[in-house]
Symmetry: C2
Subunit: 123 residues, 2 copies
């Protein structure tokens, strides 16, 4: 798994986001075993403590399940993950729209900017 930790925001929050993304997109499918805390921490370049904090938060949200020496697994079902993915997409769209409104960008221009962003991706 690839990690992208940037300064300026709490690391454990970034870990949570990226882990959740990996889960809802199927990179870590339902039922799959999650690598050990120490391994994930080494990968991400953080302390086991910090990674532990992120994992526990995801466990609180019902996405992961720790079983002592048997390691962690993705406890959420496929349906639940799909719902989460949808919710996340809706929230992103909502937020994006809100910000464009705040900037005073029209509906048409917003659409145009999105098309431009899509084109730009083809690099």
């Amino acid at each position: 798994m690839e990690w992208n930790i940037t300064p300026g925001r709490p690391v454990y929050l970034q870990l949570i986001e990226q882990l959740e993304l990996a889960i809802v997109t199927g990179a870590m499918p339902a039922g799959a075993r999650v690598p050990p805390v120490r391994e994930l921490a080494a990968e991400a370049g953080v302390t086991p403590n910090t990674m532990q904090r992120a994992l526990q938060e995801l466990e609180n949200r019902g996405l992961l399940k720790a079983q002592r020496t048997a390691g962690r697994t993705v406890s959420a079902g496929t349906e639940q993950l799909d719902t989460l993915r949808r919710q996340r997409a809706e929230a992103l769209a909502q937020e994006f729209w809100k910000q464009m409104q705040a900037l005073g960008v029209s509906t048409e221009e917003t659409a145009a900017l999105l098309r431009a962003a899509a084109e730009k991706e083809n690099v």
Copy 2:
């Protein structure tokens, strides 16, 4: 000016964002005088120190200009503000598109979600 400071992210960064938004959208037009640090701080419910930090950062970016007892003014020109507004909109679109891609949401569905967000705004 209305402030919306939420915990979890550095306050001075939120101040910078909201001040910059007010500037590029014309709420604080080019050449306008900016209220004193102490006043802005009281409005936003933060310490003058924190507000000062945000204002100085905006000064570093060339948006504001401090003139001792004459107070601060918006030093950026209208054209510059327009450019900034455009850049910000483009960056937002780019980022939104990137995140939808990461979530595996199709182009059509992205458009649909955006329409839904636009409708929802009519409350």
